[in-house]
Amino acid sequence: MSRRLIVLFLALLVLVGAMSLKTVVVTHGDGSVIMANGSAPPPPVPWKNGGTPVQVLGNGSAPPPPVPWK
């Protein structure tokens, strides 16, 4: 098998692993938003939980706003 195919296979393996991990986490989570991010007072997510406070992980420390869609 060529090296390119191995790289392709490994990249897809990482992608499948990451998306599976995300699915598991989101399924067992409370519906709050997860991101690779930081700080500030958590706003309620508009599409779930009826106003339960939700924290967003964000890049940097800026307060995460409510999600504008939905």
């Binding site: 990451a18 991101m35 958590p42 406070p53 420390s61 800026a62 307060p63 706003p65 999600v67 869609w69």
Partner: protein, 232 residues
């Protein structure tokens, strides 16, 4: 508007991001760790811009919300490239840059395609939701890639202390957020604690990287453990 404590946490986080650049400049590490520094510079600028938007339009405004999520997608992309920078440094002696680039493009393209496939069925505001979904998915890709890099460092018996420190900091950063998310779900009644703990976790990465640039010299190596030879 965020409260006083959250504002202070935000300010300290922003200053820490700026301090990474200062430390990298001081130790002449700007070019070697270019994407790490670009990411930190972006984080600093975005943090300042977010504050401006927040002050002008308000916390609950659509302007702030859109700016926050679009800039967040940009930052997560920046973090992805910073991680690839660390990959290329770990594997630099193996001359596999070509394959790393191929893997990075495939992975980024695959994540973008997956994000589009998800939001295409569930949202009518495709562009903004796509930026948000891509950001989330790249976070998980980054998490997995960091653990893979940890494994590679162990397997290759990497001894460059600064590089190890930078990668370990990234792993701890990702892991801390994952643990925080899990704990928030387990103990939802501890919300008053988490509202300060979660933003404080954002300090981990800039603080650890600033320390690595300032206190760990590029040529420092980890001494391998000495083994005792026991005669039988």
């Amino acid at each position: 508007m965020p409260g006083l404590t959250n504002s202070i946490i935000w300010l300290v986080g922003t200053l820490l991001e700026g301090s990474v650049l200062v430390c990298a400049l001081k130790t002449k590490s700007l070019r070697r760790y270019l994407f790490l520094n670009v990411y930190m510079a972006l984080s600093f600028l975005v943090s300042v811009a977010r504050f401006e938007v927040l002050i002008r339009w308000g916390y609950t405004s659509l302007e702030y919300a859109y700016f926050y999520f679009y800039s967040d997608a940009l930052l997560t992309l920046g973090l992805y490239f910073a991680l690839l920078n660390l990959y290329s440094l770990v594997f630099d002696e193996m001359k596999v840059e070509r394959y790393l680039r191929l893997g990075a493009v495939v992975l980024l393209g695959g994540t973008a395609w997956f994000s589009y496939a998800v939001i295409n069925q569930s949202s009518h505001r495709i562009l903004s939701h796509f930026a948000f979904e891509l950001s989330q998915n790249l976070y998980f890709v980054g998490l997995v890639l960091t653990y893979v890099l940890w494994g590679a460092i162990l397997k290759l018996r990497e001894t460059r202390t600064r590089l190890i420190q930078l990668v370990l900091a990234l792993g701890i950063y990702f892991s801390a957020f994952a643990a925080d998310y899990a704990l928030r779900n387990l103990y939802p009644n501890l919300q008053p604690v988490f509202q300060y703990l979660t933003p404080t976790l954002a300090w981990i990465l800039p603080a650890a990287w600033a320390y690595a640039f300032l206190c760990v010299r590029e040529e420092t190596r980890l001494a391998p453990s000495s083994l005792a030879a026991v005669s039988r």
